[in-house]
């Protein structure tokens, strides 16, 4: 099943929308494409452990994750959360019809906790310009996001 989640990448002080497509099909494998850097590539270990620890699982199928636009470099650990949610949605472990209304960003801890990320303010400002999306952030970051 194919599912899309939204994230955001920060370049200089401007954020841009990133679509994270997760497809789960027949076979075995984990493919992460769309110019991820090492921190993004490592996310699968964190996601696998985190899902395990809260009694979900990384499905033993062929998981393809595409981060579009595919020619923009994605860096940092903030894509853990959207990818994890995408995997859960695509493998039907959760039923979430409204996923595409949100921008989700966050770094995962192995116990399923969520850690702070960088560049929250530019993302929030950009989201405001696009009007349609709501945001999901680590609570620790949430400090005083201006509303």
């Amino acid at each position: 099943m194919l599912i899309s989640v939204y994230g955001s990448s920060v370049f200089a002080v401007e954020a841009s929308l990133i679509t994270i497509e997760v497809n789960i099909g027949k076979g075995i494998g984990y493919h992460l494409v769309g110019l991820p850097d090492n921190a993004v590539k490592e996310s699968n270990y964190r996601i696998a452990a985190a899902l395990n620890n809260i009694n979900y699982k990384l499905p033993g199928k062929k998981i393809t994750i595409n981060m579009a636009p595919a020619d923009v470099r994605k860096e940092g650990s903030a894509y853990d959360l959207p990818i994890a949610i995408g995997i859960l949605g695509a493998s039907s472990q959760i039923q979430a019809p409204e996923l595409d209304r949100y921008i989700i960003m966050g770094e995962l801890a192995l116990d399923g906790g969520i850690r702070p990320i960088r560049g929250v303010l530019p993302i929030a400002i950009q989201a405001l310009k696009m009007v349609l999306k709501d945001l999901f952030f680590p609570r620790k970051m949430l400090w005083r996001l201006l509303l």
């Binding site: 400002i125 620790k140 509303l147």
Partner: protein, 364 residues
């Protein structure tokens, strides 16, 4: 930011049950204005701690009012660093827009910790071993440097001649343009860098040149080499040059408290308000130091007396065209502090005073 829903989460489980519709999360609602007001506190450094040094305080007041760059020159122990550290306490409060801009940059480097919105003007004082990349920003995936982190605030360079020549020279373009563009083969990044440069230096390697009470004198060669570390173009970009002299004992022991930062800040804020009013239709210029040449011509019209005074000064001190612009900008700020409509000769005269490093023969 009204229409945005932001949810704070601390656990993956919360996110899952939210999306499945099992639980609801409370939206994090924050009142920026209140937050902003709450944080407009002022630091423990206060100008009332500084005894004497009235001319320098005056100079700092002008610098704060117009956002001018300033360099303090004086022997060790004269109080240069002490004065510079107190500068943020007299800067006018940040506007919400400025606070957002600054917070954005700090957010990108992950430096916003718990304080949320940065509403106190940043004061960055990098050590003089800093590399040019750390100063202006850069790296494979360009990160903002100190000058961008000091956006809308103060960049304090203590012991200016000790900085690497290269590091100082890369600052030249950002000082003019108030932003820095870092180019890579695949992309370019532009970070805002509108900061107030505050520098301090000793006049000579031993530190005692020009000090009337010291017997130690450096050789001309030594002096030449020391001053040569700072290039003319960089000095040209600094509006105010001021010599700091050691405080005599009588003043040091004086128990009477000097003027407090709050009082000075009041005057500075008024002068700044006058500038905001003047440039309100302009998106790029907010205070006098940012004026373009055309704006200078427009807002600093000179009468006959002041223009002949300026002409004389230009010839005598052999000032550059850029120094001419700087003098006009500073004069405009002095006029603003006095709530004067036009720039007059006395303002120009005071502004010329603050170009001491341009004077020929300053080195003796």
């Amino acid at each position: 930011m009204k229409d945005l829903e932001v949810y704070g989460v601390s656990n993956l489980k919360e996110v899952i049950s939210f999306f499945e519709g099992k639980t609801t999360l409370t939206r994090t609602v924050v009142d920026t204005r209140a937050e902003f007001q709450k944080q407009l506190k002022h630091d423990e450094f206060d100008f009332s701690d500084v005894k004497g040094q009235e001319t320098i305080k005056r100079c700092m007041e002008i610098a704060a009012a117009g956002g001018h760059n300033i360099i303090l020159i004086g022997p060790p122990g004269a109080g240069k660093t002490m004065l510079a550290k107190r500068l943020p306490s007299i800067l006018p409060p940040m506007t919400l827009q400025e606070a957002l801009e600054t917070t954005k940059i700090h957010s990108v480097v992950g430096k916003v910790k718990d304080q949320g919105l940065i509403s106190v003007r940043p004061f960055r004082s990098p050590h003089h071993t800093i590399s040019d990349v750390a100063l202006v920003g850069g790296g494979g995936y360009p990160q903002p440097g100190e000058i961008s982190l000091a956006h809308n605030g103060v960049l304090f360079l203590d012991e200016l001649p000790e900085f690497k020549r290269g590091a100082l020279e890369v600052m030249r373009q950002p000082l003019e343009d108030r932003e820095v563009t870092i180019a890579r083969a695949k992309f370019t990044v532009t970070y805002p860098a509108s900061f107030m440069l505050v520098a301090s230096m000793n006049p000579s390697p031993s530190g005692y040149f020009n000090d009337p009470h010291s017997k130690m004198g450096p050789s001309p060669m030594e002096m030449q080499r020391y001053m040569g570390k700072i290039s003319g173009p960089l000095l040209d970009r600094i509006d105010l040059h001021i010599e700091v002299e050691p405080v005599p004992f009588e003043q040091l022991a004086d128990r009477q408290a000097a003027e407090s930062s709050a009082v000075i800040r009041e005057r500075v804020s008024k002068a700044r308000a006058r500038q905001s009013e003047r440039f309100k239709s302009n998106t790029k210029t907010h205070y006098n130091a940012q004026m373009t040449t055309r704006q200078i011509r427009n807002y600093c019209r000179l009468d006959n007396a002041s223009s002949s005074l300026l002409k004389q000064a230009m010839e005598r001190l052999s000032l550059s065209a850029r120094a001419y612009d700087r003098i006009l900008k500073v004069a405009r700020t002095i006029a603003d502090l006095e709530a004067a409509e036009n720039v007059v000769a006395s303002h120009i005269a005071e502004a010329i005073q603050y170009r001491s490093l341009d004077r020929e023969g300053w080195m003796g």
